[in-house]
Amino acid sequence: MAKVTVNDIEVDADAKDNCILAARRAGVEIPHYCWHEALSVVASCRMCLVEVGEKKPDGTVVMGPKLVPGCQTPVKDGTIIRTDSAKVKTAQQMTLELLLLNHPLDCSICDQAGECYLQDYTFKYGNAASRLDEPKIQRMDKYHIGEQIALFTDRCVMCTRCVRFTREISGTAELQVTSRGSHEEIDVFPDTPCDNKLAGNVVDLCPVGALCSKDFLYKKRVWWLKSASSVCTGCSTGCSIHVDQNEEKVYRLRPRDNPLAQGHFMCDDGRFGFKYIHDERRLQKPKLADAFASAASSNNLSKMNSYGDLKFADPWVDVLSFTRSKIKEAIKADARGFVAVLSPFMSVEEAYLLASYLKSMDKRVRLVLGCVPVVGSDDKYPKGPKGESPTAGKVKFTIRSEKCPNRLGVEAILRHFEGELVTLDQAVARADATAWYFVGGYNLGWVTESIDRAVGKPSLLIVQDIFASPLSERADIVLAASTFAERDGTYVNHSGLAQAARGAVRCPGDARADGRILMELTERKGLFNAMTLRKEIGMVVPSLKALADGDLGEYGVKISTAREPLYS
């Protein structure tokens, strides 16, 4: 601990802090462009110049004669930082004037406008007038930087965050600075575009509008985006993300800083892999097989929802009550033959709702874990010069091969209710099931031919999924469910970190969030509320005791970290 005084506010700073971090502890912002917590220090933008001095043991204060870059200056006991003196303010104004010298000021068409540090700092620390008396230097835009990245060269402030990212985090080193002085530009070598799996992060890192995502380019102004804190479901790393939406459409995913999960970044598979939630082929409404449909809807009118004089048919009322009676029938006929398949895309709450419901009806009902999609092997960064993986201990980012968010969470529920963990393959191999309840939610097709054949034509087949599959085609009951962006829930990542995800948009058509389907199916009182359910799970399931608080905070909480890899 080091006692540091920032603008007369005394704080306890960490001995490893630089001036920016120490000031942040005191609630004082030191503006900066080139410095980033996850990257090395270059102190090139000069935006964080502050006055630094020292309080001697005898009480005298000695201030340094020159301004120093706050990002590069470590603090120690007795350090004094001044960010509000006239000297510092003048330096900030001059730095901003210099950075804006050749900036085109095309905020009106710049995608960054609204979340741009040039705008913010100019507003807070800048001087509105420019003294430039020459035409501005104009440079060509570069659309060839990467498949997903465009560079608007003249907006760049040469902070080199992007260059350092590709050198230090992704290790692929595609980007570099070319030329010198005021002709400096970011560029790639010919025929080596910045297309690595982490490339999308340079767009987030860019403090100005120089690097833009082609995917998001001109799609929406950022001030209209509303953001929900969520968790990426692309792999078991479980990156914390922001889901940015406007009017029920998700426009982009951004990484959310989480030191417990993934750090500051996310991979492009996750970043651009959310498109399936707006796929037109999504299941839009619940469906009963023709044989059941007529029986169920004979007294449809009586089950219409009514608001005053207004009446409308709710497709779910019939389907859910019918499903419930069918499940009861099937369990009464052959409880051991009723198999519920819980997918690792379910949240802990949903798995708990379904598992506790079925087990409360009959202990002999079998619960199994759905397919765990695994693609290749873990992809670790930073890459070496020849593309080789880093040695253990040097890993800064991992894209995991297990392409589902919540295997550990669902496993914990299954172990509690079933005692042992049975995979779908094992259940299929035994071939004694008479009724199936499948929960899907996978972002890509998951019904393989062997599953399809093994399931055959059971007496009852219920499928709760987001996309049509051979199983849903011939299912007796199809429940149109939701993706991660449409529901609240808890996901447990590869290391046992349980994170709360919030829904951002509504489901398409008459599809419903899985939690809501299961709340009504299981005839629980009230609406689906993830926090209440977490409290309940924390009490009931010993291995998930950490959820008992209900609130998992910004970063999530660790549940037991014991891990048995299914696939090693």
Binding site: P104, L105, D106, C107, S108, I109, A113, A129, S130, L132, D133, E134, P135, K136, Q138, R139, M140, D141, Y143, F152, D154, L217, Y218, K219, R221, W223, W224
Partner: protein, 205 residues
């Protein structure tokens, strides 16, 4: 936070009524006198509309138009400022990257793919005009807006440009300013320059 009332606000008092004013008879009499004076003045003020059209002041806020730039393209850069400023939510823009291969568009980065204004929902406050950084949207002096259907009065980009073509040359609604490609801020250095101003972001490809 507390304000010193006497310094920030000028407080007025309603004048107290005496017994004479409280009867209201003098006020009624003076009102009648004014009415009668106009009856016998022999000067009619009835306007013979539509045979004689009224003179509309130049700051009248009527139907919108979308201005064109020197090349005849839509001047709007699709920055969404008008849509953001609009209190009636009647403007809807869908932006697109300008076609880079087309030489006609090569110096433009972004343009409005569609630009629709619901003229019935609009309250003609002029906020869009205020917000526009490139003076692309302007309110004209057209006040007699009629149509048979509501749909007809949702104006799209072509319609708004045609209003520009129809009004800008008549002299009644001249283009008020000539701000350039990206707004006043981007022009500051250009106006200070001794040489000719740079042509927007002309060299972009």
């Amino acid at each position: 936070m507390t304000f010193n009332k006497s310094k920030t606000v000028k407080w007025g008092e309603e004048p107290k009524l005496g017994w004479r004013e409280a009867m209201y008879l003098p006020a009624i009499a003076s009102g009648l006198a004014t009415a009668l004076r106009h009856v016998f003045a022999g000067k009619t003020t009835t306007r013979q509309y539509p045979e004689v059209e009224p003179v509309i002041p130049p700051n009248y806020r009527g139907v919108h138009r979308l201005n064109r730039d020197e090349e005849g393209r839509v001047k709007c850069v699709a920055c969404y400022m008008c849509q953001t400023a609009c209190p009636a939510n009647c403007i809807e823009i869908i932006a697109s990257p300008a076609p880079k291969d087309d030489p006609y568009w090569k110096d433009r980065d972004k343009f409005p793919q569609t630009f629709t204004i619901d003229e019935l929902r609009c309250i003609y406050c002029g906020m869009c005009e205020e917000a526009c950084p490139v003076d692309a949207i302007e309110l004209t002096s057209i006040y007699d807006l009629t149509g048979y259907t509501r749909k007809e009065l949702v104006f799209d980009k072509e319609k708004l440009l045609s209003i520009y073509d129809a009004t800008s040359k008549t002299g009644k609604d001249p283009v008020r300013t000539n701000r350039g490609a990206l707004g006043p801020a981007s022009e500051e250095a250009a106006t200070a320059s001794q040489g000719p101003p740079p042509p927007g972001r002309g060299s972009h490809g």
